[in-house]
C-alpha cells in the first residue's frame, strides 16, 4: 500500500503517478460540477456502476453511497437511499477535540462517471462541525472490475489541523437479505497469519462491544491489522471487504454500528423491521483509517476492496488468495 504524505511545497509528481492522474482529473471535473450541484435536491440522480455481478450507485448531489446490489444473488445490500452516507473525518481543533466533518452535511463537487467501470467523487472545502469550513479535499475513485469494487481515495489537507481519522467507504444501510429469517455475522481472522476464522453475529442479534458510555449505538470494531478482510456473511452468500491484501502504513478498522439500538438489552435483538417508533433501523458499516495526517499534506488512503460471493465464510476467505 502506498501512503503519500508530504508537505505541499515539496510535492514531487513522480511519487504519485496514479494520484496525479486522479487529482488532475478531479480538479477539472470539480470545477465543472460545483455550480450545478449546489442547487440540486438530495438524491436527485444516481450515478451508477454496474456489471453482471453488482450494482453500486452514488447520489450525484451528496456523493453518498445510496445503493449496492448483489445482482447474482438478488441481495439488496444497501437499499434505502436516504440512509446513504459518504464519509466522516475528525480534525480536532487546538482548543477543542470534537470537530467532526460529516459527509452527510457536504455537497459533492464532483460525482462523475469516468467510464463504464469508474466513478470519481470529490468533496472540497469541507464544513466541519465546530471549526468552520476547512480547506480539505477528498477525492475518491471507485472502480468496478469483474464484480470487484475498489475504493481509492486521496485526502488533501491544506488546513492547519491534523486529520486524525477518516471513515471511507461508508455504507449507511447494510441490510440482511431478509428481515424475518436471515442471520448475518461478521467473520474475521482473530490472529494474523492464521487460518482460523471467528464469527460475530450482527443480525438478528447484535452485542455491543464498546463501552456503552462512549457510543450512541451498539458498536463492533475489528482490526484490519489482524484480519486483512472481513466477511459480512449471510446464509449462502456474503460480502468480502478487504484492504487490498497488503499491509497498511497506518491502522485500519472495520466498524459496524447498529442504529438506533436494540429492542432489548436482555435479548440483544435488532428490531426486526425497517423502523421502530418511526426511527430507521439500519446497520452502518465503514472502513476507518486512523491516518493522523499532518497539516498541509496529501495522503492516499489504503484501497478498500469490496466484492460479493456465493457460499460460506470459507468461500469468502478464499478471495484473499485471489
Amino acid at each position: 500500500m502506498d501512503v503519500i504524505t508530504r508537505e505541499r511545497k515539496h510535492f514531487k509528481p513522480r511519487m504519485l503517478p496514479r494520484v496525479t492522474r486522479f487529482l488532475s482529473t478531479s480538479l477539472v471535473l470539480g470545477a465543472l460540477c460545483i455550480a450545478g450541484t449546489a442547487v440540486q435536491p438530495a438524491f436527485a440522480r444516481d450515478v451508477t456502476l454496474e456489471d453482471h455481478v453488482v450494482l453500486i450507485a452514488f447520489d450525484s448531489h451528496s456523493g453518498a453511497l445510496t445503493r449496492f446490489d448483489d445482482k447474482a444473488t438478488h441481495w439488496e445490500v444497501e437499499r434505502r437511499p436516504k440512509l446513504g452516507d459518504s464519509f466522516r473525518l475528525f480534525a480536532p481543533l487546538p482548543n477543542r477535540r470534537w470537530n467532526p466533518v460529516l459527509g452527510s452535511k457536504q455537497t459533492a463537487t464532483a460525482v462523475k462517471k469516468l467510464s463504464d467501470h469508474e466513478i470519481l467523487l470529490q468533496w472540497k472545502n469541507l464544513v466541519s462541525e465546530n471549526g468552520g469550513v476547512l480547506p480539505l479535499t477528498l477525492t475518491a475513485d471507485v472502480t468496478l472490475t469483474n464484480g470487484v469494487l475498489t475504493f481509492d481515495a486521496i485526502l488533501e489537507n491544506d488546513s492547519s489541523l491534523m486529520v486524525e481519522t477518516i471513515d471511507y467507504p461508508y455504507f449507511g444501510d447494510i441490510s440482511p437479505p431478509s428481515r424475518q429469517s436471515t442471520n448475518m455475522a461478521v467473520w474475521t481472522m482473530p490472529h494474523t497469519n492464521s487460518d482460523i476464522l471467528v464469527s460475530d453475529e450482527i443480525y438478528s442479534h447484535f452485542h455491543n462491544e464498546k463501552g456503552y458510555w462512549g457510543v450512541f449505538w451498539p458498536t463492533k470494531i475489528f482490526e484490519a491489522s489482524r484480519s486483512p478482510f472481513c466477511l459480512i456473511q449471510a446464509p449462502g452468500k456474503g460480502i468480502y471487504v478487504g484492504v487490498g491484501g497488503v499491509s497498511s502504513a497506518y491502522r485500519l478498522q472495520y466498524t459496524f454500528e447498529q442504529h438506533p439500538g436494540l429492542m432489548s438489552s436482555i435479548t440483544e435483538m435488532v428490531p426486526p423491521a425497517d423502523e421502530i417508533s418511526g426511527i430507521p433501523v439500519h446497520l452502518e458499516f465503514r472502513m476507518c483509517h486512523l491516518i493522523f495526517q499532518k497539516p498541509h499534506s496529501v495522503m492516499k488512503l489504503a484501497p478498500v476492496v469490496v466484492r460479493c460471493y456465493q457460499g460460506d465464510q470459507h468461500t469468502g476467505s478464499d478471495l484473499l488468495k485471489h
Binding site: 475528525f90 481519522t165 456503552y212 466498524t255 438489552s265 428490531p271 421502530i276
Partner: protein
C-alpha cells in the same frame, strides 16, 4: 521500600491421625476436629447432613504465612511434621491453638506467635486469630483457617462459590479456582445443590483485604500427594515487624437450602452492625429516573446547560422523578477527575445552578454524576499536586486506571484516553481534597449525587507510598467508609435529604450510599433486593422496546432508569419503552402495598410452573398477604403459568396493560414479553 522477593513461612503438615489425637468442637449443627499434633483443621462436618466438607486425606495444613523479605525469593515449601506449641480447651465449645517459633522455608526459626481461638456457638464456628510478629520481617498475609481437602456434598454436585457483587450474586465452579475478595463481599457461599457452607469475614469495617481462596493443588514436592481442593481465608493484613494484631474473625456455618438460606445468615449478622442511612421521602415512593450525558473528554459539549430544561420538561410530562446528569463537570464524563468544576463549554455556573433549581422546583430531582477515585493524568492539577496522594505499589510505581473511550475513532482505538492515577483514600489530606470537590456539587443545589465507580479502585488494593499520614501500606478500601462519612457530614450541613447514590456500592458501603445504580442481565440475581426489600436500586433500561428488562424491574422492585441512546438521548426517543415503563410504575403505584412496600422474597414461598420460559418473584405484605409477579420471558409466544401458593386466599390478577384486577384461580395466560401480578386478597 526495596522488596526483591517473598517467601512463605510455616506450612505445617500433619499426617492423618486417629480420633484419639483430635480435639473436637461439636454441636448438633457442626463438627470441627483439629489434629492435636499440628493443630490443623482435619475435619469439618455438617451436623444436619452427611456432608463432610473438610476431610483431610493424608496431609493437612494448619495455616500459612506469606512474608516480605528483602533477600529471599518466593519459594513455597511444605514441611513435614511441625508440632503445635499448645492446644488448650478453654471451655466446652472453645479451644485455643498456638504455634510458636515458626520455621521458614530456609529452616530458620522466626520469633512469630500465632494464636487462634476457635469457638462453636449454635453451629457458628468462629476463628479469632492473633499474630505476634517479633521478627524484623513484614508478614504480608496469614492464611487461616485452612481447609486442606474441601469435599463435595454427598449428592455429588460440583461446589460453586457465590458472593455479592454489583447488584448480583455471581457464581463460579470452585474447580476453576475462583477468588472472592472481602472488598466486594464480606461473605462467600460454598454452595451445593441443597446445602452450603457460609464463610464470613466478621468485621464490616474493611480493616484489610481478606481473600477467600480456592485452590486445586497437590504438594509440589511430593509425587504421592493427591490432588485436592484447598479452601482458606487469606488475611492480607501486613503485620509490621515487632507488632501484634488480632485478625478479623472468620465465621463458618453450614446451612440447608440454596443461596437464600446462606444469605439469610448474612442478613442476620448484618442486622447487628448495618446503620440504616436516612433516605429522602421521594426516593422511598415509586419513582423513575433518566440518565443523560451531556459531555465527554472529547469536548463534544452536546447539551448546553441552558438546553437542559427541555429534558426536565420531558421528565415532567412523563412522570419521571429524577435526572442523573452525567458529564456536567469540567472535561465531561471521565475527564478532569476529581475536579468538580463546571464546564465552560456547556455554560456558566449560574446557568447550571439555575437549571437545577428550576428542575427541582418542578419536582424533577437532579442527581449529579461524579467520581472522586481518580486523578486525570492529563490535567495540570495532577502534575502540580495530586500526584502526592496517588497510590503506588511496593516498587514505587503508581497504580493507574486505564481511562474510558468516547465517540471518536481515536478514543475508541484507545489512543488518547484520559488515564488516571488512583487516589489514596487512606490519606486524610486527599480525603479533605475530595470533600472540597464534593462541596462544589453541594453548592450547585442538586438533591443528590451519584458516585460512579464508587465500588472499586481499579487494580490498586494497597498504597505503599510513604508520607500519606500513616505507616504504609494502607488498604485503600479501608478509606472508603471514613471518606464517605466525611462527605455525608458535609452534605448534612447543607441538606440532610441530599441523596447519596453510587454505582453498585458494596453492601457495607450502602450504609453511606443507600441508593445503588447498576445494570442487569438475564442471569442477574436480585440478592440486594433480597437483603434489603426497600433499598433504592436503580436499573438501566436502554432498549427501544425493552419489555424484558422492564418486566424484571417490576419483578424485583427496581427503579427504572431510562437511558435512550446509551443515555445520550431524549426520553421520547424510545416511546415504546417509555410507555411500558409508565404502565409498570402506574401498576406499582396502584398496588403499592403489594409491589413496593412489601417484603421481597424472591422465589421463596411459592412455585410457578409454565409451558414456556418464565420467571417469578414473591412479595409478602406487612399484613401477611402475598403477591406474585410472573414474567413471560418468551419473545413471541404466550405462556400458561400455574401458581402453587400454599393456602391461598382469594386471588386477583392484574397486568401492566390491564391494571384492573380480576379474580384468578392461579392459572394465568400471559402474553409474550409481558407480566402478570397475582395478589392475595
Amino acid at each position: 521500600m526495596l522488596v526483591v522477593g517473598f517467601f512463605f513461612a510455616i506450612a505445617v503438615l500433619s499426617t492423618a491421625s486417629a480420633q484419639a489425637d483430635e480435639m473436637m468442637l461439636r454441636d448438633d449443627k457442626l463438627l470441627a476436629a483439629f489434629d492435636s499434633d499440628s493443630g490443623a483443621l482435619i475435619r469439618l462436618e455438617n451436623g444436619t447432613t452427611p456432608w463432610v466438607a473438610d476431610r483431610q486425606s493424608g496431609l493437612a495444613v494448619p495455616f500459612r504465612l506469606n512474608m516480605f523479605s528483602p533477600e529471599q525469593k518466593h519459594d513455597f515449601v511444605y514441611r513435614e511434621k511441625h508440632h503445635t506449641v499448645g492446644m488448650q480447651r478453654i471451655s466446652g465449645q472453645k479451644i485455643r491453638l498456638q504455634w510458636k517459633d515458626l520455621v521458614d522455608e530456609q529452616n530458620k526459626s522466626l520469633p512469630i506467635v500465632l494464636t487462634a481461638d476457635v469457638t462453636l456457638t449454635n453451629g457458628a464456628l468462629m476463628f479469632v486469630t492473633t499474630v505476634e510478629n517479633n521478627s524484623p520481617l513484614m508478614i504480608e498475609s496469614v492464611d487461616y483457617p485452612y481447609l486442606s481437602d474441601l469435599n463435595e456434598a454427598p449428592e455429588g454436585t460440583p461446589l460453586t462459590v457465590k458472593h455479592l457483587w454489583y447488584g448480583s450474586l455471581p457464581s463460579e465452579d470452585i474447580s476453576r479456582k475462583p477468588g472472592v475478595q472481602s472488598k466486594q463481599s464480606l461473605f462467600c457461599l460454598i454452595q451445593s445443590t441443597n446445602t452450603g457452607l457460609y464463610v464470613e469475614m466478621h468485621n464490616p469495617t474493611q480493616p484489610y483485604l481478606l481473600n477467600f481462596i480456592f485452590d486445586r493443588t497437590s504438594l509440589t514436592k511430593s509425587s504421592n500427594s493427591p490432588v485436592r481442593t484447598e479452601f482458606h481465608t487469606s488475611h492480607v493484613a501486613y503485620v509490621h515487624p515487632d507488632s501484634t494484631i488480632t485478625l478479623a474473625p472468620v465465621v463458618m456455618r453450614f446451612y440447608r437450602g440454596d443461596w437464600h438460606a446462606g444469605v439469610d445468615l448474612y442478613k442476620a449478622w448484618r442486622a447487628t452492625w448495618f446503620k440504616q442511612p436516612h433516605l429522602p421521602a421521594w426516593i422511598q415512593n415509586v419513582n423513575s429516573w433518566e440518565q443523560l450525558q451531556i459531555d465527554s473528554p472529547e469536548q463534544d459539549f452536546r447539551v448546553p446547560y441552558t438546553n437542559l430544561i427541555t429534558y426536565a420538561q420531558q421528565c415532567i410530562d412523563n412522570g419521571v422523578s429524577a435526572i442523573q446528569l452525567v458529564g456536567w463537570n469540567h472535561w465531561g464524563q471521565d475527564g478532569g477527575d476529581p475536579a468538580q468544576d463546571i464546564e465552560l463549554g456547556l455554560g456558566t455556573w449560574q446557568q447550571l445552578h439555575d437549571f437545577i433549581a428550576q428542575s427541582q422546583d418542578r419536582n424533577v430531582k437532579i442527581i449529579l454524576f461524579a467520581k472522586l477515585n481518580w486523578a486525570d493524568l492529563t490535567m495540570p492539577w495532577y502534575t502540580n499536586e495530586l500526584y502526592k496522594y496517588e497510590c503506588t505499589d511496593p516498587n514505587g510505581n503508581r497504580y493507574e486506571q486505564g481511562g474510558y473511550q468516547y465517540f471518536t475513532p481515536t478514543q475508541l482505538a484507545n489512543i488518547d484516553v484520559h488515564r488516571r492515577a488512583v487516589m489514596d483514600f487512606c490519606d486524610p489530606r486527599y480525603r479533605d481534597i475530595a470533600t472540597k470537590e464534593f462541596e462544589k456539587i453541594l453548592a450547585l443545589g442538586s438533591e443528590g449525587w451519584l458516585w460512579d465507580e464508587v465500588c472499586h479502585h481499579a487494580s490498586a488494593l494497597y498504597n505503599f507510598a510513604p508520607n500519606h499520614g500513616y505507616n504504609p501500606p494502607g488498604y485503600i478500601y479501608g478509606g472508603d467508609l471514613p471518606l464517605s462519612a466525611q462527605l455525608r457530614a458535609a452534605a448534612d450541613k447543607v441538606n440532610p435529604d441530599f441523596l447519596f447514590s453510587g454505582e453498585g456500592p458494596e453492601d457495607w458501603l450502602c450504609q453511606y450510599f443507600p441508593c445503588s445504580y447498576f445494570r442487569i442481565n438475564a442471569g442477574s440475581v436480585p440478592v440486594n433486593r433480597y437483603i434489603d426489600p426497600q433499598e433504592p436500586l436503580v436499573v438501566t433500561v436502554l432498549g427501544f422496546d425493552d419489555r424484558e428488562i422492564l418486566n424484571l424491574i417490576l419483578m424485583n422492585r427496581y427503579i427504572i432508569e431510562y437511558e435512550p441512546y446509551n443515555f445520550k438521548g431524549h426520553l421520547t426517543d424510545f416511546p415504546l419503552t417509555l410507555a411500558y415503563g409508565k404502565k409498570i410504575d402506574a401498576l406499582r403505584r396502584r398496588y403499592k402495598t403489594y409491589l413496593w412496600d412489601a417484603e421481597f422474597r424472591d422465589t421463596l414461598g411459592a412455585t410457578v410452573t409454565s409451558d414456556g420460559s418464565s420467571r417469578y418473584s414473591v412479595f409478602l405484605t406487612a399484613s401477611g398477604k402475598r403477591a406474585l409477579v410472573v414474567v413471560n420471558m418468551e419473545f413471541s409466544k404466550s405462556i400458561t403459568a400455574r401458581l402453587d401458593l400454599p393456602h391461598p386466599g382469594k386471588l386477583i390478577v392484574a397486568t401492566p396493560e390491564h391494571p384492573n384486577a380480576i379474580p384468578t384461580d392461579g392459572r394465568l395466560k400471559i402474553r409474550a414479553r409481558s407480566a402478570a401480578v397475582v395478589m392475595e386478597q
